[in-house]
Amino acid sequence: EAGVAQSPRYKIIEKRQSVAFWCNPISGHATLYWYQQILGQGPKLLIQFQNNGVVDDSQLPKDRFSAERLKGVDSTLKIQPAKLEDSAVYLCASSLASGTGGYFSYNEQFFGPGTRLTVL
């Protein structure tokens, strides 16, 4: 079974430029997540999709970050304009539909390799 694919793997841009990341989840996974992992910290959820609808984007800086998941499969995350503090690894993860099953039912999240963004 193919895992979560992300591209590009590395990106270097200057501040105020724009950048976009792409994610292809595991086939059949309805839920897709974007995380930001700053050096020395744990991953922080930016946005969660279920199919093509947004479930949680409470920690997404909406003035500069945007994400979409057209057709409920692939997703793109965009930063415009980038700031120095956006330097991080951006991780995409997918899982079976969240909220299914009973209490304590957790659908494992499978992570992609991430995109390392450096903003100069």
């Binding site: 744990g42 991780l91 304590f104 494992e108 992570f111 991430g114």
Partner: protein, 112 residues
């Protein structure tokens, strides 16, 4: 506000000995806990989990212990192997929600 804390940024253990990684949490709504393992240039991979109705879960060399009253969990790896060298993240979720809150990670190095 760091709701999940891993106070040891790094740990070095000899091969064959026990590795103990610790995690503390502050949010009493958390009732499902997970450990993820991360190698360089790879995404985190799920290792083991425990729900709040249990105090111990074991999977081969890996055991997770949960102390709800102390809001503390730990991961034991016995015996430690060089391939276990990685960054380990503790994570927590409330109930049926799927939003993971991660700790800052502990880098484990298993030496020969």
């Amino acid at each position: 506000d760091q709701q999940v804390k891993q106070n040891s940024p790094s740990l070095s253990v000899q091969e064959g000995r026990i590795s103990i990684l610790n995690c503390d949490y502050t949010n009493s709504m958390f009732d499902y806990f997970l450990w993820y393992k991360k190698y360089p240039a790879e995404g985190p991979t799920f290792l083991i989990s425990i729900s709040s109705i249990k105090d111990k879960n074991e999977d081969g060399r890996f055991t997770v212990f949960l102390n709800k009253s102390a809001k503390h969990l730990s991961l034991h790896i016995v015996p430690s192997q060089p391939g276990d060298s990685a960054v380990y993240f503790c994570a927590a979720i409330p109930g049926t929600a799927s939003k993971l809150t991660f700790g800052t990670g502990t880098r484990l190095q298993v030496t020969l």
